[in-house]
Amino acid sequence: MAVQGAPRIGSVAVTGVWKEYALASHRPRTLKEALVGALRGQGAEPPRSWALKEIGFTIEPGESFGIIGTNGSGKSTLLKLLTGISKPTLGTVEVHGKVSALLELGAGFHPDFSGRENTYLNGAILGLTRKEMEERYDSIVAFAELAEHIDQPVKTYSSGMYMRLAFSIAVHVDPDVLIIDEVLAVGDAAFQKKCIDRIHGFRRDGRTILFVSHSHGQVAQLCDRVAWIDRGVLRALGPSRDVLSRYEAHIAGTEG
């Protein structure tokens, strides 16, 4: 799987990443509060905390990599760094190639516009040109099973239809790195199976998959290697089976 030399499209390198978060409750929320705080001589050094501490790992092109951890462990913070939405305080995050994240489902849909209009705009938001969208449009609609409703406003859609369309657009972005944030509970069982099949298809095509979850079932099924994040620290990194069994033991220990 290792590819010699640069650039290696589909590779991910996270090196010495620390991420600091200002505690929201101590930050002035309005200009008025900020002014009052300044007059009272407050607000100089807000208390800060580390959401991630010294995180480092590399992912080879074509690898299926899992990130696991309980809620509040820092997974979503790491995800935001990987998608480029925020920047690490220290260290570097390098993702080579086109990224699509399935945490973006339906972001930017406008309820008053039709499925067709939303599909084109959502495609552009996810980084597809109009030409690319035109090539993929029929396939997107077919995958979402929405041919009859595509010209109706999205506000008339059921939540299942809405998610099916959003998922279908996201998997048609055709990324080099696909980031999945436990959103596989889309639609009914049949559609879920279609989604899983699609993701396995990505894997067979040699795309890099980054799967973020707090439950081990799908991670075990999908991932070669797993990183376990616990309270902002990388607790374990290695083959899925080893890391998942340690994670399971830890969960059982804290809960039992």
Binding site: A6, P7, L31, I85, S86, G97, H110, T129, E132
Partner: protein, 259 residues
């Protein structure tokens, strides 16, 4: 060779155009009625100010209603852009927290959408002008220059206000009174010639003043708009744009954490 993510700039251009198209179409949904609706605000203001200043206070200005309308259109572009643009980051929190894209697009969409509305309202102004016997002249060729200066100014101020509003949620509430004060120091409801000499400096501090005067010169008098004030306004607009981009880019990677 792709270093880091290969950002498809073409796609972002299409995202920008798609968002502008969506905003414009959302406003004109229901076709012609929607268009009239967007004109209602400046028309209503024109009626009210004409009643107050021309009928009640008997201000002696030729073509007062027309002067008002000519000034109200660019002012509406400016003020509505700022109102939308200031909230553009906070209003799109859901998108910003989930998808990576150049966030400058959002305040840019606010300015552009309202610019399109401004362009759509120009023919209506043209009809009013023709009704008063004022024909369009060569001076119209200078319109793009005025619009470019106003666009840069509005986008720059938008970037600053959108950044502030991401951190301090009351900026958008404070904007209303500020815009009202700004409106009254801009020669829209009175001609610039009525400003007393002691206060003439205001027209240099406020870049909207020479812009509004410029539109009136071009459209009502068929005169070239060039003035020292406009030159200063162009410098101020450039400074605003550079400051805005600098402030916004320094802060934009924190937006997802604070909104």
């Amino acid at each position: 060779m792709a270093l880091l993510s290969t950002h498809p700039w073409l796609a972002y251009r299409e995202m920008f155009l798609g968002l502008v198209e969506r905003e414009v179409r959302a406003r004109y949904r229901g076709s012609f009625l929607g268009f009239l609706w967007s004109l209602l605000n400046p028309l209503l203001l024109m009626g009210i100010y004409t009643l107050v200043f021309s009928v009640v206070m008997r201000i002696q200005v030729p073509n007062y209603a027309l002067m008002l309308f000519t000034g109200l259109l660019p002012w509406t572009w400016f003020s509505t852009s700022l109102t939308n643009g200031t909230a553009s980051i906070t209003a799109n929190a859901n998108l910003i927290k989930k998808v990576y894209f150049p966030l400058e697009i959002l305040p840019l969409v606010s300015v552009s959408t309202n610019w399109v509305n401004f362009l759509f309202s120009l023919p209506v102004l043209g009809v009013f002008l023709l009704a008063k016997g004022i024909a369009p002249g060569w001076a119209m060729l200078a319109l793009p220059v005025l619009m470019a200066v106003q666009f840069a100014l509005t986008f720059g101020v938008n970037l600053i206000l959108a950044t502030m509003n991401a951190f301090y949620k009351d900026v958008e509430q404070l904007l209303g009174p500020v815009l009202m004060a700004w409106f009254y120091v801009t020669p829209v409801v009175y001609p610039v010639s009525m400003i007393p000499g002691d206060y003439a400096w205001l027209t240099y501090v406020n870049p909207m003043a020479p812009l509004v005067v410029g539109y009136q010169d071009i459209l009502m008098r068929g005169a070239a708009p060039w003035s020292p004030g406009l030159f200063v306004a162009a410098l101020e607009a450039s400074a605003c744009l550079m400051l805005g981009l600098w402030v916004f880019r320094r802060r934009k990677f924190v937006f997802a954490e604070v909104i």
